[in-house]
């Protein structure tokens, strides 16, 4: 996978994960163009399209579009399953996830994605294991470290 974008129906980016080295300017341009292209597609159309020299796989869940750019040899149908698995993980973590959850807790959405995919490939195929790892990592945030006395409450989950 080269990159994954999540965006709303108004074209606002909610998450962008890039697995290829591109400058900020290039990323902005690609996001803008691709988002426009996908938003222009009619609902009955295919989930796959060729765009520039990439294969794009996208699916809409409620008000959010999940869009991945994959390479030529990648299996588009299984990419749909990857997208679905990520949505399931978000759903389990947030409890009936909606767009607002992802807006207000975008850093968590990234953390979950980083436990599921690494370098564009799936690193863990068990839902349970991904969620367990996130849970443990979240706990680590709460723990006082030996070196610092202050409790860090900035990004705690109780917020």
């Amino acid at each position: 996978m080269q990159f994954m974008l999540l965006f709303s129906r108004q074209g606002k980016l909610r998450l962008q994960k890039w697995y290829v080295p591109l400058s900020d300017k290039e990323r902005k341009k690609i996001s803008r163009d691709l988002v426009q292209t996908i938003l222009a597609r009619k609902p009955k159309m295919c989930s796959f399209l060729e765009w520039r020299d990439l294969k794009i796989v996208y699916k809409r869940y409620a008000s959010l579009y999940f869009c991945c750019a994959v390479e030529d040899q990648d299996n588009e149908l299984i990419t749909l399953e990857i997208i679905h698995r990520y949505v399931e993980l978000l759903d389990k973590y947030f409890g009936s996830v909606c767009e607002l959850d992802i807006i207000f807790n975008f850093e968590k959405a990234y953390f979950i994605l980083d436990e599921f995919l690494l370098g564009g490939e799936a690193q863990e195929t068990s839902k349970k294991n991904v969620l367990k790892a996130i849970e443990q990592a979240d706990l680590l945030q709460e723990v006082r470290t030996v070196l610092y006395q202050q409790i860090d409450t900035d990004t705690s989950t109780t917020n």
Binding site: M45, E76, L77, D154
Partner: protein, 819 residues
């Protein structure tokens, strides 16, 4: 200073902004606060500030001043800091800036951290955005972690290794020892990532590929277990156990089995099993089937398995889910060359997909349909494709039109059908037809001698209806110029001849000249057509008037033509009929030199060249190439003709530089070679007085006797092939003065290394006795270095039942033949 506001607070605030300007103001205020906070080196709130910065970055605002802060966070001991710091690094830093290298040391430390989640963060970041320098520095650490027994880390290290290998391929060797027992893991995460790593290594290095072939049995076993094992809640997706792993294994098997019989055989059974047992009601099952089909088609599978695969694709085509249909069409496109007959069985379904609403599906269906057209189904297929051409989106029309032309040229059942098809395309998609189609069509029409009257009539009628589609207008005006006499004489056999007068025809052509719809090129065509009619029509005065008017046209091209034609009328009227006479049938081959050359080195090995059709002339790089590749793959290569001169050049279309008078008419790909005869005429360039017919080259070279023994005499006659003066065209005439026929006569020739030779097919292989006839054959010799022509010939024939063979050297070529 008050504590910086919390992340969620900021998000809430920003979302209340009602206008872009309001949002920008809030963001700027917050950025200023964050910047001062950074300046104060505040450790407590750095994490919070960076998080807010990342949010603002996502909204599209600049955040580069936070880059160094991310590095400080990464270096912190607090897990929260590290988490946000690494996230920030992945979002804000990129490998083109040297700043990112500062991360290297932190990552190195974190890779050795006591907490696995910290190690995980480091591996993730390195595997996501590590530059080549970082990868080089840290590959050792990654390799170490690849050997750990901690599966949480091992799976991440495997994918990190994949990234390292992608960035620095030379480091691949380093990871080889660690891959030893990767597949014996029970943990699915590790298994999955290991398969990805192995795939990457095999794709990059044939040595690795050979090395890992021995893993095939193990992979087959793992796959088998996945399929046969019962329900496993942890990895189940709609009743299928770990589809992600299954797909990756299938992909690795594909790479390992390609071009290797043993491996392919070892996986035959499991592939058949997966193909037949996988549940197809949900997308996930189809994903596995899709991968299986791809694997079956790529390895050396037995034919039964291949048929099974194509049938799966056929079933996919009927699936309601359009994603599945899309995937099926893509795969069929890949296999149509190798398994043509199997794909043909699904032709009707594919043709139905032309009517699908989805653009990508339509495109694939179109490409596939063209690939499936053959002599048997041409009529039916063409009907569907023309219907598609009528109703499709403009983006398809050009490709579809080109495809129709190519298919029609290859498989036209009759000339009439061919012309009708062309007409249909020109009238329905005339403006989308490619520019190079115009000369091709003209050439095609010229060659269909008996259809000239019909063609010009139909084109004329089409012009009356609509003059907006330029390619149609260009072809039509050219034809009217050529065959206008047939038009007014009303001698059409194919359909009811129309009654049209010379004046009406000239009205139409003049109308094209003045119309706003006509492109400059089109005007050129019609002016020339009018000129040509001066020798075919009787109303010469009218034509003279038109031509003289345009002598002062603003358009330089038209002006030049008009002035030249005027000159024809005034000073060179005696040449006019000859210049403007009917075009000879154009030779169907590339203009510049022989394309099928057999190189010899002067040995006695014969250089017999089969009279194959010349290969495709290189086409301009456009999408027609894709269609051509599909159509021209294994079949008879498509004859590509090139119009000797583009019509835009002054007077170019008056004279055919190839000047071929061969009468090898008949359906488009004429197999018989054409014998070039008298020299073509050169252009009357402007007002210069070059001789009209340049016979010098042809007449100059005297014929010679190359061989004369045992009653067999072989004479050589010479021409120069235009436009390439380095090519000598030699015609051999073999005659037999004995009392019996020489049968099975074969003439072979070899030339020294510096030459190239092409032998066209002989007129026959029986040399009749007593000089009653000759066998002729054309040899073309390319002599770029202008060296003395020498040839060794070998003759074999049967005389009175006994075979005769002889070799001879031919050295007495006249100097003009090679100078």
């Amino acid at each position: 200073m008050p504590a910086p506001i919390r992340l969620r607070e900021l998000i809430r605030t920003i979302r209340t902004a009602r206008t872009q300007a309001e949002e920008r103001e809030m963001i700027q205020k917050e950025c200023a606060a964050i910047r001062s906070s950074f300046r104060e080196e505040d450790n407590t709130y750095r994490c919070r500030n960076v998080a807010k910065l990342l949010y603002m970055h996502m909204l599209g605002y600049p955040a580069h001043f936070g880059q160094l802060e991310c590095l400080k966070l990464i270096a912190s001991q607090k897990f929260t800091d590290k988490r946000i710091g690494y996230l920030g690094a992945m979002l804000l830093l990129d490998e083109r800036q040297d700043v990112h290298l500062l991360m290297t040391n932190c990552i190195k430390n974190d890779l050795n951290h006591s907490t696995q989640y910290v190690q995980g963060l480091a591996l993730c970041t390195l595997g996501c955005m590590g530059s080549s320098e970082m990868c080089r520095d840290l590959a050792g650490e990654v390799e170490k972690l690849l050997k750990t027994s901690n599966s949480y880390l091992r799976k991440k290290a495997a994918l990190c290794a994949v990234h390292v290998i992608r960035k620095v391929p030379e480091l691949m060797e380093m990871f080889l020892p660690a891959t030893k027992n990767l597949l014996s893991e029970k943990n699915h995460g590790v298994l999955h990532t290991s398969v990805v790593l192995l795939t990457e290594m095999c794709e990059r290095s044939p040595d690795m590929l050979a090395h890992f072939r021995k893993l095939v049995p193990q992979l087959v076993r793992i796959l088998k277990n996945l399929i046969m094992s019962g329900y496993s809640p942890e990895h189940d997706v709609s009743g299928i156990s770990d589809p992600f792993l299954q797909v990756r294994i299938l992909r690795l098997l594909r790479i390992l089995g390609k071009s290797d019989d043993d491996s392919s055989e070892a996986m035959n059974d499991i592939l058949a099993q997966v193909a037949t047992n996988t549940e197809t009601s949900k997308n996930v099952g189809n994903a596995i089937l899709y991968e299986t089909v791809l694997t079956i088609m790529d390895i050396k599978s037995e034919s039964g398995l291949r048929v099974l695969a194509i049938n799966i694709l056929g079933r996919f085509l009927l699936n309601n889910d359009k994603n599945i249909r899309y995937v099926a069409l893509t795969s069929l496109l890949k296999t149509v060359q190798t398994d043509h007959n199997a794909v043909q069985r699904h032709r009707s379904t594919i043709v139905d997909c032309l009517k699908d609403l989805d653009v990508s599906i339509k495109r694939r269906a179109m490409e596939l349909s063209f690939a499936l057209v053959n002599g048997n189904n041409i009529r039916g297929m063409m009907k569907e494709l023309l219907y598609f051409l009528d109703s499709c989106d403009p983006e398809f029309k050009a490709d579809c039109a080109s495809g129709v032309f190519l298919a029609a040229e290859k498989y036209a059942p009759s000339k009439r059908w061919h012309i009708d098809t062309i007409m249909r395309v020109l009238t329905t998609a005339g403006s989308y037809v490619r520019d190079d189609s115009v000369p091709n069509l003209i050439q095609l029409i010229t060659n269909s001698v008996e259809m000239h009257a019909y063609t010009v009539q139909r084109l004329y009628k089409a012009l009356l209806d609509d003059i907006s589609q330029q390619p149609l207008v260009q072809v039509a005006s050219w034809c009217i110029g050529e065959y206008g006499d047939l038009l007014v004489s009303g001698q059409c056999e194919e359909e009811e001849p129309i009654q049209v007068t010379e004046d009406e025809v000239l009205d139409v052509l003049e109308g094209l000249l003045v119309s706003n719809l006509s492109a400059p090129v089109t005007r050129g065509y019609s002016l020339t057509a009018i000129m040509k009619l001066s020798t075919r029509f009787s109303s010469v005065n009218r034509i003279k008037k038109v031509v003289s008017i345009y002598g002062s046209s603003i358009d330089v091209e038209l002006q030049q033509r008009a002035v030249e034609y005027n000159a024809l009328f005034k000073k060179y009227d005696h040449m006019r009929p000859a210049l403007l006479e009917r075009m000879p049938i154009m030779e169907k081959s590339a203009t510049n030199g022989p394309t099928e050359i057999v190189q010899t080195n002067g040995e006695t090995e014969p250089s017999v060249v089969e009279p194959k059709h010349p290969p495709l002339v290189t086409q301009p790089a456009n999408q027609a190439n894709d269609l051509l590749d599909l159509l021209g793959g294994n079949d008879v290569p498509v004859i590509q003709t090139t119009m000797p001169t583009k019509p835009a050049s002054a007077g170019g279309e008056l004279l055919d530089l190839l000047g071929d008078l061969s009468l090898s008419g008949g359906p488009a790909p004429a197999p018989a070679p054409s014998v070039p005869t008298s020299q073509p005429s050169f252009l009357l360039d402007g007002l210069s007085s070059q001789p009209l017919f340049n016979d010098i080259a042809a007449a100059a070279i005297p014929p010679m006797t190359a061989y004369n023994k045992n009653g067999l005499k072989i004479d050589f006659t010479f021409e120069r092939a235009n436009p390439n003066p380095n090519i000598a065209v030699i015609t051999i005439h073999a005659s037999n003065s004995t009392e019996a026929d020489m049968t099975d006569f074969v003439f072979q020739a070899a030339v020294p290394k510096t030459f190239q030779l092409q032998l066209l097919s002989p007129s026959s292989n029986v040399v009749p006795a007593l000089n009653q006839g000759t066998v002729t054959q054309v040899i073309r010799v390319l002599n770029p270095q202008k060296q003395q022509l020498r040839m060794r010939i070998k003759l074999t024939y049967t005389l009175k039942g006994s075979p005769v063979q002889d070799l001879a050297e031919v050295n007495n070529f006249p100097p003009q033949s090679w100078q």
